[in-house]
Amino acid sequence: MKRSQVPSTWVSVDQAVKWPARTQCFAPTVKRSNPIKPRLFPQNFTSAASQRQQLFESESSRSRSDFRNERSSLLNRVRIVPASPSYFTAKPTFTDSLLELQALLRKYQTLPLTPPGTAPQVAWKTLAQWQAANGDEPVKPSKYGRILSALYRLNQIHPQLMPEEVQIALDKNKKDFNPYEIKTKPSFLDRFGRAYGVGRRKTSSARAWVVEGEGDVLINGKNLAGMFGRIHDRESAVWPLKVTDRMDKYNVWALVEGGGVTGQAEALTLAISQALIVHEPLLKSALRQAGCVTRDRRRVERKKPGHVKARKMPAWVKR
C-alpha cells in the first residue's frame, strides 16, 4: 500500500503501542482522534500524516549515532495501523460499541437497580436506525440483540445513581423521540358535569357527551329507536353502559357522522365508553374486557386488479 493510498484514519504504531491487551480491556482505552459519529468507510481511518511530517523534521536534527538505534522504533512509529483494534473484525463500529457497553456494564455492575418493571420505558433504536447511525455495517439482528440486552441492563441502574458516561451511552442508542413519553391529556368533567368522548369505526366518527341522568339517549337529535332500526345496533351503541350496569344512571347526547349504520353504532360504543371512563376511571378494565376501549382499525380492503372484489376471483370458465 502506497503512502498516498493510506486511508487518512490510520495511525502510527507508537500510538498503537499504547493499546492494552484485549484481555485487559476493562474500559474502552482506544483513543480516537474523533468522537464517535457516523462515518463512511473511507473515513474509518485517521491519517497520521502530520505526525509523520513531524517525525521526518525531527530526524534531520538528530545525531547520526542515534539514527541506527532508532531505526527499528521509527519503523514501528511510521508503520500504519488502523485506529480501532476491531478493524479486522469487519464490523469495527459494532464491536467497539458492544465492547464499550460491556465495559460500562462491568464497571458499574454493583450499582443498585430499580425494582423490576419500574425502569424508565425507553424506545431503543431499531437495527436499521442503529445501522444508519453507525456506518451501515452489516450487523445481524441476533448480534444487535447483544447490544440491546446490554442497554436494557444499563437502563435498569437506579436513576439517582446513574453515572454520566452511562447516560451518554444510553442516550446515543435511544430513538430520536420516545413514544412512551407521550401521555394522553387527562379529560375532566366540564362545569355542567358533562364528559366528552370520541370514537371511530370504519369510516364513522362519533362524539358523545355523557352526563349523569336516567338513561335518555339522543343521537343527532333522534332517539335511539329513531336512529337505529336494528335492536342489535342500539345495543352496540349503549354497550358500555349495559356491561357496567349504568344504563339508567347516565344520559347520552351524541353526534355521529360518516359511514353506515353499523359503523356509526360501533363508533358510538367507543365514544360513550371513553366519556364513561372520565366519570368512572375504574371501569376502564371492565370496558376493555367488553371490547369498548380498543379502536378496531380495520377498514374496507382495497380492490385488486384481476379480482372481482378485494379477494374474490372471477368464476372459472372453460375457455
Binding site: G215, D216, N223, L224, A225, R230, M247, V317, K318
Partner: protein, 491 residues
C-alpha cells in the same frame, strides 16, 4: 396375432392402386354424375341432375353456426311447484287477518276488565293509571265492528286482548267525561313516533266511548277514501262540487249499525227527512242505518239523516235523548292532500271535497258543533307515512301555540314563504289541539313487562335494571319498540 405384412399383402395393395389408376384413365370410366352405389339409366339420372336443387355452398371455416352455443352451460331443471296457488284475495285475507287470542299464552290471573262503572266518575279512572286492563266481550265485538284492531299490534301473542291504561289514555278518559258533561267536543290529532301507540290509544278511546254508551262513527283507514278504489260521483246541486262515495258510505253505515246496535236500538227516528224511499216513522236508528246500508244508492241520504238525528239536541226530562258521538279517523295524512280521484277536467279532486272527509273535517276543526257533546279524533300513521308538508307544519305550529309563550331561545315555526299553503288543510287544522304520544314512563313500562312475564312471553326477571335497559333500547319507552326488544323474535 395380426397377419404380418408379407409379399401377398404388398402385391394386393399395388394391384388396387393399379386398378384404380386404370379405371380413371380408361374411357370406360363412369362420368361423375353417375357415380353411385346403384346404376340408373342415363335419361333418369340426367333428369335428376337437372331437377336437383343447386348444391349447398360448403361452409367456410370459422363462420359462426347459428343456434350453437359456444360456452358450456348446464340447464337447470325447472322446479315445478305442485302446491295449489292461493285463491284470489286469499293472500290479502291472510295479511289482514286479526287474531285476538293465543291459547299458548298463559292466562293472566287477576286481570281486571274495563267496565262501564269505571267511567261513572273520574276517581276510579285515575286509579287505573298504569295498569293493564282486559277488554270485555261486548267491547271486543264492537271494536271488531269498527275495525279498531290492526294485525300488527301484537294481539295474537296474548290470551286475552288487554290494554295498558297509560297516562294519555287516562287523560283521554277524563276528557271524554268532560265532553259528555259539558256537551262540548273533544278534538285532538294523535301524533307520535312510529309504534308509539297512536292507533291503540284510538282503540282505547273508542272502547271507552262504547262503554260510556256513545255512538262511534269510524273511518279505520283514511287511505281507503282517497286511493280511488271506491266509486264516486258528484253530489247533485252542489257547488263547488262535493263527491259522494256511495259504496264506502254503505259500508260505513253497516259498521255504524253493527258496532252501535245496543245504543242505536234505543233511539227512534224523530224527524221527517227527505229520503229516496219511504221509511217507517218510528224506526229505530240501528235499523234505519242498516236499511241505508242495504243499497249504496240510498247510503248517503241515509247517512246524512242519521247524522241529523244523532246531533239533535237532547230534550230535558223524559223527552228525546241523544248520546254523544265519537268520530274517529286513522291515517290522517291520506286525507290531508289531493286525492287520487279525478274531476271532469282531469284535475285531482282534493280530499276535502269528498263528502265523508268534508263531514269529518268540519267537525275536526270545530266549525260544526256536536250539540250533545262528543269527540273527534284523528291519528297519524308513521308506518304508512305520506309526505304532507302542510300537515307537518300545522302540527308543529299548533303544538307551539298550545305550549304557551316562547322561551327566549325558541322561535315560532314558520311556513316557507316560497311554498303555497293549502287553504283547506289550514282551515281544517285551524283550531285543533295536538296530542303527542311520547314514551311510557318507567312505572308503565314495568307494569306492561310484568304482564308479559305473567303471560309467559317474557322469561327474564322484571327488575329495575331490566326495565331501564329495555326502556332505553326502545328509544325512551316507545311501547312498540319495547315489545320488539323484550318479547319479539330477535332477527
Amino acid at each position: 396375432m395380426p397377419p404380418l405384412p408379407g409379399p401377398r399383402w404388398a402385391l394386393r395393395t399395388s394391384l388396387d392402386a393399379f386398378h384404380s389408376q386404370w379405371l380413371l384413365n380408361s374411357s370406360l370410366a363412369v362420368p361423375a354424375a353417375q357415380k353411385s352405389a346403384f346404376s340408373t339409366t342415363s335419361l333418369l339420372s340426367a333428369r335428376a341432375a337437372a331437377t336437383a336443387p343447386p348444391p349447398k355452398p360448403r361452409r367456410q371455416e370459422n363462420t359462426p353456426v347459428k343456434g350453437v352455443r359456444k360456452t358450456y352451460s348446464v340447464k337447470k331443471a325447472r322446479k315445478v311447484s305442485t302446491a295449489k296457488p292461493p285463491g284470489p284475495g286469499e293472500r290479502k285475507a291472510m295479511r289482514k287477518r286479526i287474531i285476538l287470542s293465543n291459547t299458548n299464552a298463559l292466562e293472566v290471573q287477576g286481570l281486571k276488565k274495563l267496565e262501564k262503572e269505571m267511567f261513572a266518575g273520574g276517581k276510579e279512572l285515575k286509579e287505573l293509571s298504569g295498569k293493564m286492563m282486559g277488554l270485555e266481550d261486548n267491547t271486543i265485538d264492537q271494536l271488531k265492528a269498527v275495525q279498531a284492531f290492526q294485525p300488527r299490534q301484537g294481539w295474537k301473542m296474548f290470551r286475552w286482548p288487554s290494554v295498558l291504561m297509560r297516562k294519555e289514555a287516562v287523560d283521554v278518559g277524563h276528557a271524554l267525561q268532560n265532553a259528555e258533561n259539558n256537551k262540548t267536543s273533544f278534538r285532538r290529532v294523535l301524533v307520535g313516533d312510529k309504534h308509539s301507540g297512536k292507533s291503540v290509544l284510538m282503540l282505547q278511546a273508542q272502547a271507552m266511548a262504547f262503554l260510556k254508551g256513545w255512538v262511534v262513527i269510524p273511518i279505520p283507514d283514511a287511505q281507503e277514501l282517497t286511493v280511488a278504489h271506491t266509486a264516486y260521483a258528484p253530489l247533485p246541486e252542489s257547488d263547488p262540487p262535493i263527491y259522494v262515495q256511495k259504496n264506502y258510505t254503505a259500508e260505513l253505515l253497516t259498521k255504524i249499525s253493527n258496532a252501535n246496535q245496543a245504543i242505536l236500538s234505543t233511539m227512534v227516528l224523530s224527524q221527517q227527512h227527505k229520503l229516496p224511499i219511504p221509511v217507517q216513522n218510528n224506526i229505530s236508528l240501528d235499523r234505519f242505518a242498516s236499511l241505508g246500508a242495504r243499497d249504496p244508492e240510498l247510503a248517503y241520504p241515509f247517512f246524512i239523516a242519521l247524522w241529523k238525528e244523532l246531533t239533535m239536541p237532547s230534550q230535558e226530562g223524559d223527552g228525546m235523548q241523544r248520546r254523544p258521538v265519537m268520530l274517529a279517523l286513522d291515517n290522517l295524512q291520506h286525507v290531508m292532500r289531493p286525492s287520487e280521484y279525478l274531476d271532469p277536467d282531469l284535475n285531482k279532486i282534493h280530499a276535502h271535497d269528498l263528502a265523508l272527509v268534508k263531514h269529518f273535517m268540519d267537525h275536526l276543526c270545530g266549525s260544526k258543533p256536536l250539540p250533545n257533546g262528543g269527540a273527534v279524533l284523528a291519528a297519524l300513521s308513521e308506518s304508512n307515512r305520506l309526505k304532507t308538508k302542510e300537515l307537518d307544519y300545522l302540527i308543529k305550529r299548533n303544538e307551539a301555540l298550545a305550549a304557551g309563550p316562547l322561551m327566549p331561545e325558541q322561535t315560532m315555526p314558520l311556513w316557507s314563504p316560497f311554498a303555497k299553503m293549502d287553504e283547506k288543510i289550514e282551515a281544517s287544522m285551524a283550531d285543533v289541539e295536538i296530542l303527542r304520544l311520547k314514551g311510557l314512563s318507567r312505572e308503565e313500562a314495568r307494569s306492561i313487562m310484568e304482564y308479559w312475564a305473567l303471560s309467559g312471553l317474557l322469561r327474564q326477571k322484571v327488575t329495575e335494571a331490566f326495565v331501564g335497559e329495555k326502556w332505553t333500547l326502545a328509544g325512551g319507552g316507545n311501547l312498540g319498540e319495547m315489545e320488539k326488544a323484550a318479547v319479539g323474535m330477535r332477527v
